[in-house]
Amino acid sequence: MTGKKLLLRALKEKGVRYIFGYTGGAIMPVFDEMDKLGDFHFVMARHEQGAAFMSQGISRASLSSAEKQIGVCMTTSGPGAMNLATGIADAYMDSVPMLAVTGQVATGVIATDAFQESDVVGVMMPICKQTYMPLDAADVEQTVHEAIYVATTGRGGPVVIDVPKDVQNQLVADEYQFDAKSFRPTLPGFYYHPTPAREPLQQAMELINRSERPVMFCGHGVINSNAGELLRKFAEKVNIPIAFTLHGISAVPADHPLSLGMMGMHGTVEANRAIMEADLLISFGMRFADRVTGKLNEYAQNADVIHVEIDPSEIDKNVRTSVAINADVYRTLHVLLGDPMLTYKPRRRWWEKIESFRQVMAEDLRQEIELAVGDGGKLLMKSIIDKLSELTGGKDLIVPDVGQHQMMAARFYNYQTQNSWFASGGAGTMGASLPMAIGVKFARPAERVWSISGDGGFQMNAQELGTIMEQKLDVKILILNNGYLGMVRQWQTLFFDGRYAGTPMQSPDFGLLAQAYGIPYRKVETPEDIAPALQQAIDHQGAMVLEFICDPSEVILPMVPSGGGFEDMIVKRPGSEQPETSDSNGEES
């Protein structure tokens, strides 16, 4: 047995079916072996970053399916490995398990600046959960098993195995033995506490029962532990509204009566106002990122905080907790649901208040969505997303890119399917959508997948149209083209006196581009054409590109300015009327 055979044997043993990657000098032996074995479906990305996001897609989307899979990407040394870095850093920020296998120059020439040599372990160390470099073929199999254990246990994250070329080819001794079934990694420093302790649970329940104005937070941990159903039941049991982080979206149906929608910088008025006035925040599986909290010293000043989180280093990091529960979200909710101590409270005054918050922007938004065009007669992104939601019944899988359209997709699609929203959040990587959608499609082939990008982000990984073509994948591709980097433009409108530095962008003829890859295309310029075009994409068997010509002046509101608090939330677009903060609207009772 050789290192390369053992590597592939371990991947197969762990249920890996797809390998996304790009070959090259230092990984050729493994690719050669993979081809001989025929055990894996190899997907050639057109750029290694694409391979990283494809493997993220498979990990994220398969979480809620019967067959969990860890996404695996495989590249050569040097530039091949370096091109993975963005996708790996992105996975680390968003707690997505994935495995990157990189070829490395032979051990004899490591650290001699050999051709295509990079210090992969050194580069990846701060942007992933763990790095490995097996120096003996006999270590390879065990390393893969340990790496996948580390990636998928507790808070998920990417791991990197850098395999020198000579180790790939090295033969292990005849007496080599490894039993995958009985293997348990020896990791004395790896802590994993899935079960909640009794005492903080008790304190949490007392706080919940006592609270008059509670808000529950649904974070990525709810999705990652498959606890959406439990969270919904728990919220119904205690009658507490739910606000979502960007990654908590789709854990509970978006139109659930207890839902306040997304919170934070582009969150809804009702979520952010409720948080401002809350006396208790019950947060499940989240890290209180700056995009969620705004200015920390003004954040939820009168609220106690219960924080349920699998990663102890997230507790008390940004927001001081009253009760910390370091445990798995699913297990915690399971215990809470079964406890007779928790009681239903009507909280009538609180719900009246929330209803008034809900009204602050509702009418404006409804009118805008119905109008579907901006002042210049071009399409509004929110209307496109709204129509897509209507036509698909909110049931499809949505893979947005990063920017304005992403916030629109987060806010205006009526998510009905658990774990149906896959976004680059923490890292905010433009270009993530197209390759991530490819991975999502491999994980959930029976479901419809929409990759939604702006004109900027689409062009960052547009080369993956080649992968879609080659793999004959049915991914629906929406390009919301407003000729600008929309989110930055929005900041420039609001905070830079309308100076559009570095944001206008000329795009190629997307129709010709799609045609070059043999993918049907349709351009949409009028509100009447939105629904028929989307319907055509739905009816078409296979990939299709729809380009929507969008209004560059459209803004996503409300918005909490960067570094500001929720008090500073902007709810009216500038120009039409005086910008107002939400304070002048909501009624105090």
Binding site: V121, G122, M125, P126, K129, Q130, T131, V150, L187, P188, G189, F190, Y191, D311, P312, S313, I315, D316, K317, R320
Partner: protein, 156 residues
């Protein structure tokens, strides 16, 4: 700024020191001292880091993030009331033997070598403050070269 000592036990593997120092850099601290040695248990290293920070919560964060490393078995802060912090300095001095004798009994030092009549190499052990006091009292102008180990610490 308050000086803090963090004691961590970790697997004795390549790259672990790199990870720890990267974390401290990421958190934008400058390490005051850092000592690593083997521990009572084979394969486990003992690391003592000192740095300056007033904010209790920030120190807690470093400790939690250190503990998050797969290789770090445990990490905690040691405060001066409940632990001994000690270091060793080796000092090359140009000083009269008679001048040195004044310090006998008051400071814990040992003459390792006398190169010539007035060139001495001493070993001084004690707390950072004690060593500083000794050097001040001897007179900084007499010091030719000095090597200090940095702090290692043990809980009472």
């Amino acid at each position: 700024m308050k000086r803090r000592a963090i004691l961590a036990f970790m697997l004795d593997r390549p790259g672990v020191l790199n990870k720890v120092s990267m974390l401290i850099r990421k958190k934008m601290y400058n390490v005051d001292t850092l000592t690593v040695c083997s521990s009572r248990i084979e394969g486990i290293s003992r690391m003592t880091i000192t740095l300056q920070e007033d904010d209790e919560a920030k120190v807690d964060q470093i400790i939690k993030q250190l503990e998050k490393f797969t290789e770090v078995v445990s990490a905690k802060e040691l405060d001066t009331d409940h632990s001994y912090w000690r270091e060793v300095a080796i000092v090359k001095l140009e000083v009269d033997a008679t001048h040195l004798e004044e310090f006998h009994g008051r400071y814990n030092f040992e003459v390792l070598d006398q190169k010539s009549e007035d060139i001495h190499i001493l070993q001084v052990a004690g707390s950072t403050r004690r060593i500083d006091a000794f050097l001040d009292e001897v007179g900084q102008e007499h010091i030719i070269e000095i090597a200090r180990t940095g702090v290692t610490a043990l809980e009472k």
